[in-house]
């Protein structure tokens, strides 16, 4: 987007610093909201990293065997037990919703109001399905298998504690995302970005960049899920 003459930069690391520290904006052509979301996600990454590193230390230091994920998270379908079936479906749904989100962003920038809105709704439904399946998984673990935050029949008691805390924290992120997806789908259908209607709280105008910013958040939540998936279900 930026039409500046890069050839005038000094060479090497000095040029890098020159570029970064240049006039008015460090990230050329990046709107405020987008830059903010990136920095927020960096901060949020630290939160999830702390959770997962804590999980690793608990797992590395436990003297009681850690429960075997494939069995704990298996589902019995028509008499055969399939390991990780539910999780595979959940992951598929969430990753797919990232795809629909990306399409929504594309239609947003094309100012295709209808399709943008519908793909936002599709994304939100994907998120809802994910949260619903997570609720099913939780209830199965709690009521059927007897897993509690303070103990479980399979092994180390930290298993349940970390599982409910980390997936709960991630599920909260997904739920917040779903709420915002519905809010913005409504805004798109109503044409707020075309008419310049002001936000209820901020009393500021907004535009389709907001959809991309929302998309950043949504992709981040999906990416985090990949790590949670790896650490809880595959390890």
């Amino acid at each position: 987007m930026s039409q500046f003459d890069i050839s005038k930069l000094p060479k090497g690391s000095k040029g890098f610093m020159y570029d970064w520290g240049s006039d008015q904006r460090a990230f050329k052509g990046v709107p405020w909201g987008k830059a903010m979301m990136w920095i927020f996600l960096l901060s949020d990454t630290f939160i999830f990293s702390c959770f997962l590193i804590s999980l690793m230390t608990a797992r590395a230091s436990t003297v009681v065997p850690w429960p075997y994920a494939s069995e704990v998270f298996g589902l019995t379908v028509f008499g055969t037990s399939v390991p990780l079936l539910l999780i595979a479906i959940m992951t598929f749904v969430l990753i797919t919703s990232s795809g629909t989100m990306a399409i929504a962003v594309k239609y947003g920038y094309e100012k295709n109001r209808k399709l943008c809105g519908w793909f936002l709704v599709a994304t939100a439904l994907g998120g809802l399905t994910f949260v619903g399946m997570q609720a099913f998984e939780w209830s199965k673990l709690i009521f059927h298998d007897g897993v509690r935050p303070w103990g479980n029949p399979f092994g180390a008691e930290q298993f349940g504690a970390f599982f409910f805390m980390v997936t709960g924290f991630h599920g909260t992120h997904v739920s917040i995302g779903v709420i915002f997806l519905f809010i913005f789908a409504r805004k798109v259908f109503r044409g707020d970005f075309e008419t310049g209607r002001r936000g209820y709280f901020t009393s500021m105008k907004s535009d389709y960049e907001a959809i991309e910013i929302l998309g950043l958040y949504w992709h981040f939540v999906d990416l985090v899920w990949v790590f949670i998936f790896a650490f809880f279900y595959l390890w």
Binding site: F4, C50, S54
Partner: protein, 608 residues
Amino acid sequence: MSDEYTENKLEAKAADSSSGSYAPTAETVPAKESPDQELYHAKSFWTKWVFSQDAKVIGVQYALTATAIGFIGLILSWGMRLQLGFPETFSFLGPATYYQSVTMHGMIMVIYLLTALFLGGFGNYLIPLMVGARDMVFPYVNMVSYWMFLIAVLVLIASFFVPGGPTGAGWTLYPPQAILPGTPGSEMGIVLMLISLSLFVIGFTMGGLNYVITVLQARTRGMTLMRMPLTIWGIFTATVLALLAFPALFVACIMMTLDNLLGTSFFMPEIFSMGEKLEYGGGSPILFQHLFWFFGHPEVYIVALPAFGIVSDLISVHARKNIFGYRMMVWAIVIIGALSFIVWAHHMYVSGMNPWFGFFFATTTLIIAVPTAIKVYNWVLTLWRGNIHLTIPMLFSLGFIVTFVNGGITGLFLGNVIIDVPLSDTYFVVAHFHMVMGIAPLMVVFGAIYHWYPLITGRHLNQTLGKIHFWVTFVGAYAIYFPMHYLGFIGVPRRYFEMYDSPYMTSGVGLNQFITVAALIVGFTQFLFLYNIFTSWYKGEKSERNPWKANSLEWHTPDYPPTHGNFGKELPVVYRWPYDFSVPGSDKEYIPQDVAPSQVPTAKAETT
């Protein structure tokens, strides 16, 4: 939020008018890159002064709230000192009260006073003004940030009134003792503390995103990063640290809350209490220490870096000389910030670490002394042959340098494993960190308040009271903390409620009484300062525009004190750094940042 399409047009214009380069030269400054910020214009009293979205008002709100809770922290320290100086004299001080005072004093001072005051208070007030923005980039989020902070403070205060009182676990809140019976406040106090901290982190994140993005993306024309006042560099880097360090505290708080309320065992090992085996088992208390100090050490620099930045500006302005080694100062701030993330376990030398771990963390800790020492040299060299005006901000700045060097040098002692182990948990540690992150940053806070008070209110603080405030605080701080180093050397452990007839204390009894008297006097002087702030608000001597003859943008707003929108119709254009004092060849004593080179033809051009 800016519109993509208008932006393209603006940039096309920029490319035409500024010869294709996007770095400002001495005379030309590239055209505007983004359209003017759309501001929220408050109409009523409530939206103007209470639920305000104006960063200046929010900054003052932050500062007043932080000061209010800070004075509670001060009074708590009196309780501790009375007990230590005159044990068995005051019936209202039992062991529980003592530990609760210690804990709440520590937490309040570090987080709710210093962090909130530097970043929320000075950050909000100064960032938009100093980088030439009309406001923070997300005023609404900024407002919510303050109200979250206020709720966090109220929850903290509420913990004084619940059954069992506030937590007495020590400000580090180490489990398992923090949540087990026997520790004061293990019923409700600790939960409220953890909730309050979590709320603080959430509120801070909202504010912090604002500060970072305003500095990175919303500067005025010509304001490159290397033309920003060091104040902004300090606050900016500290905010980045906070955004990356607070998550660890947040996670630790959530996990401990769950341990407490839900019976999980994240931090709780197998443990006996009152002869009975508890339900807990298998958790790691050391994990909490790692999480806490991964936050806790950057926190030291979250408080120190804004102080470094602000004091650089105070020294430069009041010594009428440019800051020595500006680029070096910026790099030192950034390097200190980066290093602060890999030193945390030097708080845990006695927790039982692998010795190689200690070796690593001692090395990184001592490396931090290098950029820090560069900064101290640069402050001294800025003063060297400067035209030093002994104004109150200058006095406090000088006090800061001396105190910081003192506290820094004892830090070298404690950074070494072999010296730290015998000194661990003694009063030497207490003296060290009070010098380096208590008194030193507070000196800057005071200096900064005397410096910027005229900007905020249009009036000066009372100078006589100010001088008394400085001298009593400065001398008193040394009267309090110098003897503590000695107490530490003879082995007096910290956090003990009473030493009884311990042989340690044969030579320490009189010292403790002396420290207590000094602490009471210094504390009283802070109330004098508070009195000064409130009376000068309407009775103080009127300040003329730019009373300190500073160059940075906040003093050159069309309205003085600055009003809503900060800069009137047109945003200023910046042609130089803020340190053009006594420029060779110029007939002006100082050249503000928004003066074009053509207006001062004889002055040597600045090349930063």
